[in-house]
């Protein structure tokens, strides 16, 4: 009997009301056209559009009214 196959860990995770987590090395092109290389194993990309350090998340979504959260 073979062992059950473990579910693969997703490379991209959408956090409800928060950022998109991306695992691995990527270059992200921000809305303003600038390009940013990831620097950590897992990076959080802003989805609310209000981050002070785009394209990365800085937690700002938490102070937005629930309706404006992604």
């Amino acid at each position: 009997m073979s062992a059950p196959e473990a579910a693969a860990t997703p490379d991209i995770v959408i956090c409800p009301g928060g950022p998109m987590l991306v695992r691995g090395e990527h270059v992200v092109r921000a809305a303003d056209g600038t390009e940013h290389r990831t620097t950590r194993l897992v990076s959080a990309i802003c989805r609310c559009g209000s981050s002070g350090v785009p394209p990365w998340c800085d937690g700002t979504h938490k102070v937005l009214p629930p309706k404006r959260r992604p």
């Binding site: 995770v13 009301g17 950022p19 194993l41 002070g52 990365w56 998340c57 800085d58 937690g59 700002t60």
Partner: protein, 317 residues
């Protein structure tokens, strides 16, 4: 690191005995402490034996049974007080991670970072940074004790988070090292324990709670709940700290330390809530109450530190 100044009869006697060991002799009873400060400082020093120890103390003291007995009694008292302050698991619906985030958002406490951003003087900021050395110079270490005690999913996620705390393989990026660079640039001391004589009871308790949760497998849920609250109350306050330091024209190296936490902890909070706490509770449901205990204790202990410091500065907390 050198032993701190005693704060009462218990710490006085224990520090004297630490210098005498490895000669085995009975350690004093916990009730010899004549104040909460005396008990907390003694426990802090006993915990430090498990981290990097003291220059003048034999490393074997870490596992001295008499000292461990005393530590256990002091820990039992600390844990009982933390549990007594905790209101218990709240009612909630939906995913645990969302409920944990919501509980933190609903929590309203005094904010040192908000004060630093808008009003603190340079001397007050330096005071705060001296107190923060107690944790930031061993940043992430108390949580590392938990790793071997976890099932696969939360273990993998916690290691991923800790790897980032520890610089992603680059010593110059280790968070505690970034803090050291900031301290150096500000002309502050960078050796562990340099400012322990200056820290109030609340900071010792905050530090001891992290070691308590981290060192006891039984309390792994509390350690991870504490981690989740710590990470989830870091990004936005770190931004405020960065802005306050910039307002005062303080060292760019220390600003960089806080800027790193704005980004890093926006990742870590998601991992801590979803991939760590939620994953732990999914596999070990009995740990859930302690996850909430750890979360509450983190917020409550920081509130008490903030209130104490703001009072010292003559501000209503």
């Amino acid at each position: 690191m050198r032993l701190p100044k005693p704060r009462g009869p218990l710490s006085e006697q224990v520090f004297t005995e630490l210098l005498d060991r490895p000669h085995s002799s009975p350690a004093p009873a916990a009730d010899r402490a004549d104040s909460p400060d005396d008990a907390a400082l003694t426990l802090w020093a006993l915990y430090e034996l498990a981290y990097t120890g003291f220059d003048e103390v034999d490393d074997a003291c870490e596992w001295d049974v008499e000292l461990l007995r005393l530590r256990r009694d002091l820990e039992a008292d600390l844990e009982a007080r933390l549990r007594a302050r905790w209101p218990g698991v709240p009612d909630y619906e939906g995913p645990l991670a969302d409920a944990l985030f919501a509980a933190i958002e609903a929590h309203d406490g005094p904010s040192l970072a908000a004060y630093v951003r808008s009003r603190a003087s340079e001397e007050q900021v330096l005071d705060l940074l001296r107190l923060r050395t107690l944790y930031h110079l061993k940043e992430a270490d108390p949580t590392s004790w938990v790793i071997p005690r976890l099932p696969a999913a939360p273990k993998a996620a916690l290691v991923e988070l800790q790897y980032d705390e520890y610089g992603g393989g680059r010593p110059e990026h280790v968070h505690s090292h970034l803090f050291v660079r900031g301290l150096e640039a500000l002309g502050l001391r960078t050796d562990r324990g340099a400012y322990v004589d200056d820290v109030p009871l609340e900071v010792l308790e905050q530090n001891n709670a992290m070691s308590l949760f981290g060192l006891h497998r039984r309390l792994r849920g509390a350690a991870l709940g504490h981690l989740a609250a710590f990470e989830a109350t870091s990004s936005l306050p770190s931004r405020r700290m960065s802005q306050g330091l910039a307002r005062l024209g303080l060292a760019p190296e220390m600003i960089a330390y806080y800027d790193e936490h704005v980004e890093a902890d926006a990742v870590h909070e998601q991992m801590a809530m979803r991939a760590i706490c939620e994953a732990l509770v999914a596999e070990e449901p009995a740990t859930e109450p302690d996850v909430w205990l750890g979360l509450f204790s983190c917020l409550d202990l920081e509130d008490r530190t903030a209130a104490a410091l703001l009072t010292t500065w003559g501000e209503a907390a």
